[in-house]
Symmetry: C2
Subunit: 485 residues, 2 copies
């Protein structure tokens, strides 16, 4: 095992270094370094792939004799990864990367021009290459299974179809006309950046950010876990709203997951978050279930008021809490509320499934998008930029990714129901500024496992039940029951 572990640690070091190269490019690097940085990143990624799919790793995996349970988990997951990585020819990997980069550039131009036709050939190319990727896995029951597995190892299309179908059927009846200007208190600004930063830092400190963490500013916020002792969050400040708080809490959820993985898994294939959906369950929980809860605002409101005394001098925590929980259907996924967000995702999942398994042609995509938006959200799309061209994912060839956003909410709903049963009066604890019991529960029941278990195994163990949208729907219904108007 020790030679195998040594080689896997080397690959892990290359991967964590790639994370740093990407973080540095966004946050620190002069833009004039871009061309060279691309080379550095490509080299690191190619090397870590090469070193992992090496024949000798295969022989070591073959010969390894596990002595502990951890060894056994390491072998199980690594053999799975190795088998997948070996199936895809290097030239296809390169073609996918190249088409993704080209597609991304085309998408930026098409979106700016709001013209789907400019993007269409690139999307066709990405889909064609992904079909060749799917062909590398002839044993899958359904083509989409091969795509999904890259984000949710072991999860099946049939299960996702069932869960997201039930989620859709539960959410559509909840979509109303919105609450007018009930959010006027927290929009329109000005919320000076310096005051936002101080407020956000106060919140982060309270929820558990210590000397292991950094917070920087990025155009598109993200979290980067460079190591267990080095977790970097980013956020974005806009003067006219308080989104920086929610974006920061979102990234904190991602970061906390990575920071709490069992150190025994570090520098191995097990030392990371298990899947996109489980990751998203953590970020969404901190952003919404914590960050929009009554308890949180009972604690946070005095800090908010002292940061923006003119705006909130005569408000109560209830006013702010209400304003931050407005439900209103919108056209753009990234600014959607907790109720309609799931419907944005279901729409994308259904369309990409139809592209790969049904009879939807790429040319018919804008119309299909328009129809489903009408059906699920009751809204009319004015142009492609506000419809089919709004998201970056497909331009880079990321298919199978979208459903993980909604599955993240579903998981979060299940975990939230379970942990509120085990940690009664959690909202009261939040009101006292106490978030450690929640963080500890998540660490014990989700984070520490890293990739030792598959996503479904982690959820079943932590939530006590298989994938189920009902707890999330209950959570959303309860929220709507307390809405004004």
């Amino acid at each position: 095992m020790s030679e195998l572990r040594r080689r896997l640690a080397e690959v892990a070091d290359l991967e964590s270094t790639s994370i740093l190269l990407a973080w540095d490019q966004e946050i620190v690097m002069p833009v004039t370094g871009g061309e060279w940085r691309a080379q550095q990143r490509a080299t690191l990624e190619r090397l870590s792939h090469q070193r992992f799919v090496d024949d000798e790793i295969g022989e070591l995996l073959e010969a390894a004799e596990p002595e502990t349970e951890l060894d056994a988990d390491l072998l199980r997951i690594t053999r799975r990864d190795y088998d997948k990585a070996r199936r895809v020819p290097a030239d296809l990997v390169e073609e996918l990367a190249h088409a993704g980069a080209t597609g991304h550039e085309a998408w930026v131009l098409a979106r700016d021009a709001s013209d789907f036709a400019m993007f269409e050939p690139h999307l066709r190319r990405n889909i064609e290459l992904r079909r060749r990727y799917i062909d590398c896995f002839p044993e899958v029951a359904r083509p989409y299974d091969a795509l999904l597995d890259d984000y949710e190892p072991g999860m099946l299309t049939a299960d996702v179809e069932d869960v997201l179908g039930r989620l859709r059927d539960g959410l559509v009846p909840l979509v109303g006309d919105g609450d007018g200007d009930a959010d006027a208190l927290v929009t329109g600004g000005p919320f000076p950046t310096d005051a936002q930063r101080r407020f956000v830092e106060t919140v982060l400190h309270q929820v558990g950010v210590d000397e292991r963490w950094r917070l920087d500013v990025a155009k598109h916020p993200f979290a980067a876990a460079v190591s267990l002792g080095d977790v970097r969050l980013t956020t974005r400040y806009a003067e006219d709203d308080l989104d920086s708080l929610f974006s920061t809490l979102h990234e904190f959820g991602h970061g906390l997951y990575e920071a709490n993985i069992d150190p025994a898994l570090a520098r191995s294939p097990l030392g990371g978050g298990v899947s996109s959906a489980v990751h998203e369950s953590q970020s969404r929980m901190w952003e919404n279930m914590v960050g929009r809860s009554p308890g949180f605002w009972r604690w946070a409101f005095p800090h908010l008021r002292s940061a923006f005394p003119e705006r909130f001098g005569t408000s109560s925590w209830q006013d702010v809490h209400r304003a931050l929980n407005v439900i209103r259907p919108t056209l753009i996924r990234v600014s959607a509320d907790e109720v309609t967000y799931g419907l944005h995702i279901v729409l994308r999942f259904e369309l990409e499934l139809a592209l790969f398994e049904g009879d939807l042609d790429v040319a018919d995509l804008p119309e299909a998008w328009r129809e489903r938006t009408r059906q699920y959200l009751g809204l009319e799309i004015p142009d492609d930029a506000h419809g089919v061209l709004q998201d970056v994912h497909w331009s880079e060839g990321l298919f199978g990714y979208f459903p993980t956003y909604a599955l993240g909410n579903v998981f979060a709903g299940q975990l939230w129901a379970r942990l509120n049963g085990e940690l009664p009066d959690l909202d009261e604890a939040f009101a006292r500024g106490e978030f450690a019991s929640l963080a500890t529960w998540l660490s014990e029941n989700v984070h520490r496992y890293g990739r030792r278990l598959l996503p479904n195994e982690i959820i079943e163990r932590a939530a006590g039940a298989p994938l189920d949208p009902e707890p999330y729907l209950d959570y959303v219904r309860a929220k709507l029951a307390h809405q004004p108007g």
Copy 2:
């Protein structure tokens, strides 16, 4: 050639990534990431070494047929590097690194206790391992040649002995008693950090720092060239002096060298500074020959006065220029002036040469240090911390490095004499805030070559003569002739 170039580019990417890992560790990383960062750096360094000494690189070097002059230079230098790297067994490389790390820790404790005996066994161990390193190169005329070659490729001990001997004989008679308190104007502070930063940034902008550069704060300032488009300087602000300016100009000299290397050499073994001494010639030139020149202060003084109006309200540029050029022997190398600095180096060079080639025993080192300090600087050493324990180099096994500091001054003297002949009225140009002609001359005559030529070849081409201490001695004598008192 193309497969060879591809492989060498990969090694270069790993090396530039290592530079970023080190920069990030000093400037950005939470300290709690240290343990993992050490692993990341060790992995990157091991991999880049492995990939370079690979048999296939040897075969490619063997078979390569140069088509251009650049190809020929690449092969010449890379074969030299390859041969050297292959001679040293991996286990010796590891022992050297380990003893260097252990030695460094022991040195920190010994220096704090000012007790050479605590450090002595570690120094013995470092010397013993370096002797084994020297044994890997049985063809050298003198043992010290093998050490020197790591910093000054192709340079011989005999030449360094001759040049530094002449430097010593020229400098010793110049050592006086110092200028009393002639530097009171620029010492004692307070020079508020914010004002220093603004002043330093004004200077950097004027000497040519553009959007490719960064400036950050570090405990021990250094420059890191992550790529041609990404050059990072660091400095240190102390409230009681203006050293931040000189430390920044010093690092700017290093950075400018790396930033001006011919882009055609990037991502190859030729894409870096050629040697420690040539690098140091650039940093010292900007720090001292530019930064302490009359012309520089005629331009800079108004900016200095507006940064610190209370301190300099009634001074002239001449006052500041005089105060910054005080010559006074001191015990500590890093705070030495331009005249006595060379003698600090000669002392170290003579002692390490005697350790490796003469009959000096490690136990006798403190006494030898004391004697030579008396002889060269006329000073008495109160304790080991102010003598033999003041520098980090030997603790890490760096032997052969010290002379490059003095050789840097010698090179700088030769270049300065030559370029002042070719660029008349340079001091007048500085007075108008014009530094571009100097930067261009250095770029054309030194920087752009990268490692295409050996250090001696670069100097002979740029300065028009072989290694010679006389121009530097002339420069120092002229400075002393204009001293007050």
